[in-house]
Amino acid sequence: MNFVWLDIAVRVLLGSTLVMAQAVLLNWLGVPFAAITLFAGVAAYGAVAGVAPVIVALALLEAAFLLLVRPLPQDRYLLLSLASLALMRSAVGAVNRFGGQLGTASVSTLIPAQRPTSAFPFALALFLAAFLLLLALRHSQMGLAVDTARIGATDFCANSMTPVGMITALLLGAAVLLAAFAGAVQGAYAGWIDPNVFRIDYAITMLVATLVIGRMPIRGALLAMAFFVFPDFFSSALGYNRTASAHIREILWGAAIIFLAGRGTSTARGNQ
């Protein structure tokens, strides 16, 4: 395997980890959250801001999103999660210490920038952790409780059978942890971080992938990887422009969202 494919593998594994972390919230738990890149982006700035401020920021963001799950209707919650990205982008872009809107170099002793051989083990470990989490949700009693909690959004009996708040906090914490580590690896590997990590269109790309992978762990993991590997693979195999391949991917998956949303596959929590 040459370095180009190793580089693609690192990006695919990190992207898939983020998608699977978001799927835990959106597909399994039914919380309409679409800003997993917010946590990844905040953690990516850890190389510049330091670990402690990043942990505090992540904890505050998690608490805020946790508190707003119940009062907000699900479509408003989704919008708020996207809006939080734009706000974070503006806030980070205004700080000179972080390089403003141009960004700054991120230096890590553990993962040197643009060295796929050093980033690959971390990316693989995170991917496997996310995959194991999905497997556990599928095959364990905890998974059954999560299913009951999701159904509890519309069914009073199901709601009374599970500690919904505790499960939501637990899974949100797990998703935040996965996203934060993935973001930190991504930031260190890229060697440069700028406010574009909080772009809404990137979050929407993640949302598209999350909705399509559904609630099947193996199929979901494979689909998530296929989503990110498609542009590189397509352009490498057919000699097609990589950007155009990404457009084709988004067109196909956008059509899949239109189809899947019509079938009502995603039942999210909250007031209708």
Binding site: P32, L67, L68, P71, L72, P73, Q74, D75, R76, L78, L79, L80, L82, A83, S84, A86, L87, R89, S90, A91, V92, G93, A94, G100, Q101, P195, I200, D201, I204, T205, L207, V208, L211, T243, A244, H247, I248, E250, I251, W253, G254, A255, A256, I257, I258, A261, G262, G264, S266, A268, G270, Q272
Partner: protein, 297 residues
Amino acid sequence: MLRGAYYVPIALAFALVARHGRYLPLWLPECGMVAAYAAYFSIERARFPLLLGMAVAVLAGSLSALVAHYALFAGHVARSEPFAALLRGIGVIVLLDNIASLLTGGYALAFSRLAIPSSGRFRMVHALLGSDALALGCVPLLAGGLWAAVNHTRSGLQYRSVSANRQVATQYGLRVQRIDFIVVVMGGLLCAIGGITNGLRYGLTATMMSTTALKAVAVVVAVGYDRLLTVALGMLAIGVLESLCQARIRFSAFEDGVSYAALAIGLVVHYVVWPWWRHWRERRSWGAEKQLAEARL
């Protein structure tokens, strides 16, 4: 203010359709993009006369709104499924933006056709484009006209009745299907106007409407979709604030964040602070009544 004026038709269309269908029609501003591209291709490529090209574009915008509504969203409106409709709306945006980007190679298209002849005497006019005058003129016309039509006409009463409760409106004999049709056509028409004016001012890009859509959603959700005049004023205020942020280097990063801040504040106030305040006030008055009753005893 000019910047906000370009957003106003989109926000009005969004508020009109959102109130009617009780969901957030994120897809609707994309009809403006369809109209803008239709205007470009009919005027620049097919060499249609300006007015005919504009008419074709407005028609294309309205038709695309009708097709999208009846093919994808009418069922969600009838069944009251706002979340599924929102997800489908995101799917439509992703689909249309990428098709447009693929067809144009990702390049922006210049489409400035309404330049006002410059004159040495009128320096203010020298800086303005025809599309600026059009956008500014549309604000009082569209906002006032729509507000009057919705709140002070018989058709507006029917619209409000259907928006409030479709089932009851149907049982009372209102022609809900006809109102659906008119609302979607109006929404498409307003978006077409917004899309064409935006295209004339800022050029055509594949994502020209998706950002505007999110800004319109932010304001409509923050102020409430039943307040058309406030929506228009809110959009103008967002334009002013964005321009002020752009003018100051220290705040330039917040240029795109203004509308989202309004959205976040609006949502938290509407769904968290206000219910909590109401609950607290009720408990307080209940406690006072209880104390009074105990004192009387």
